[in-house]
Symmetry: C2
Subunit: 251 residues, 2 copies
DNA sequence: CCATGTGAATTGATTCACAGCG
DNA sequence: CGCTGTGAATCAATTCACATGG
């Protein structure tokens, strides 16, 4: 759930399913924890539990990477950490820029898990001239004017957008023009990008709305069987003759 | 991609597919923008473009809600805003607590899109006694000791966890015990919760890792056809006799 | 005549269940 | 003998394509 258009049906060498790719970081986290506790091997059952998935799915996922386990025994933790890291491209260093150093941008800059695992905050960029030069998380904020130069100088290919919604598309266009080909978007907007550029989005409001949907269902079920009040799934209410249309919503 | 275990195969009245639910907020956002520009009606084609999906998918999604369009014309914007809002449960007010007021928690508290659309930050909670009483985003931070009382007094059913990973499960347990049944988790941990509790997670590091995977593929493809260096998908390298196993990774 | 709504076809992901290897 | 690796079966999501109704 997130890629903006993009999906390169093109030359995808030996397709690992997208759903699997999305779970690899999860496995990697669980494996890293095991590694720190010096656990030498782990079974699909144990690792699956630690990652919060079921073991059949995990084994199927790993089967796309190759045969890295030992039957009757399980997986070698260190070996698997390496293989997954390599598959994800984490054996190399990824310089990242964060554009938009408001509350969220600053929080991202300070976020520890960011720095770990191959990602390095190469620069912070903001449109506010008053911020220029101020250090955030030990890194001086630079002005948007220099965006292209910053991207170029640092060889950045991954950008994080944490600007207000109104500025996001424009920032995105400049990032892409400057050579960025992967974007993590925190602004609540749909970004349009040319083919070959990947966009993933994180939207707090959307996540909450999905939770609210399920929450509402739960609340309704409790009272199920009771009076016919609160029709939960108003399928086919087809704009009928009844005047139940409040027309305007709380913005 | 996110629900922690949970999926209530139970009494799901008239199943709207999960993938559809996840897109409804997207449609709602696009519709709200149209509404603000006083656009009266919109076709599936136009709305789909604004939401970044294709029109067939959009029409199929809407078909699960009912027949809300007019053939030959399109959809009434206001009417659809209302129907989707209602379906998502946004016509009611959802008090939310945020636990863990560090950089990220503070950013969330300040995040505007949070407050809009039915969600209200009812309380901020942190374990640090030094923070207690300090206002963040105009709301005084309260101490974890009072968590249960706060949940209860405010009738909170949705909790946001923005604590360090180590504290997350414990906070989660307390939230659940106090009556919270939906959790948005920003801590990089797998939370385990009883049936009937929904968990969605947002993990910055995971999103970046997914981008890195695709980014790596792109870099590899450029050089495709060249020397046989950089084998991209090492399928079946089967831990073979060759000694290509660095064994340890940069943590 | 145009755009919705939807069965049917397709593609993708998950789960099952067990053969086969260490 | 236990656990991996994987075909086959199932389930979910997407896309196609067109009949249908305003």
């Amino acid at each position: 759930m997130a890629t903006g258009r993009t999906h390169r049906p093109a030359t995808r060498s030996r397709g690992i399913p997208e759903a699997t790719v999305a779970r690899l970081p999860l496995y990697l986290r669980a494996l890293t924890a095991l590694s720190e506790r010096s656990v030498p091997t782990v079974s699909s059952e144990e690792l699956a539990a630690a990652a919060g998935v079921n073991s059949a799915k995990l084994r199927k996922d790993f089967s796309y990477l190759g045969s890295y386990g030992t039957r009757g025994v399980g997986y070698d933790v260190e070996y698997l950490v390496y293989q997954i890291s390599r598959e994800l491209g984490l054996t190399q260093d990824w310089p990242v820029v964060i554009v938009g150093i408001g509350n969220l941008g600053a929080a991202l800059a300070n976020y520890g898990g960011f720095a770990s695992r191959g990602f390095r905050v190469a620069a912070l960029i903001d449109a506010d001239p008053a911020m220029a030069g101020k250090p955030v998380a030990g890194i001086p904020v630079q002005h948007t004017d220099d965006l292209e130069k910053i991207i170029d100088d640092n060889g950045v290919s991954i950008g994080v957008i944490a600007t207000p919604a109104g500025a996001a598309q424009q920032v995105c266009d400049r990032l892409v023009a400057a050579g960025v080909t992967s974007i993590l978007n925190f602004a609540p907007t749909v970004l349009s990008v040319p083919d070959g550029v990947d966009v993933r989005k994180v939207d707090l409001s959307i996540e909450l709305q999905i939770l609210a949907f399920h929450e509402q269902r739960k609340a309704g079920e409790e009272a199920a069987g009771e009076s016919a009040a609160v029709p939960l799934a108003p399928k086919d209410s087809g704009k009928g003759p009844d005047g139940d249309v409040p027309a305007v919503m709380p913005a």
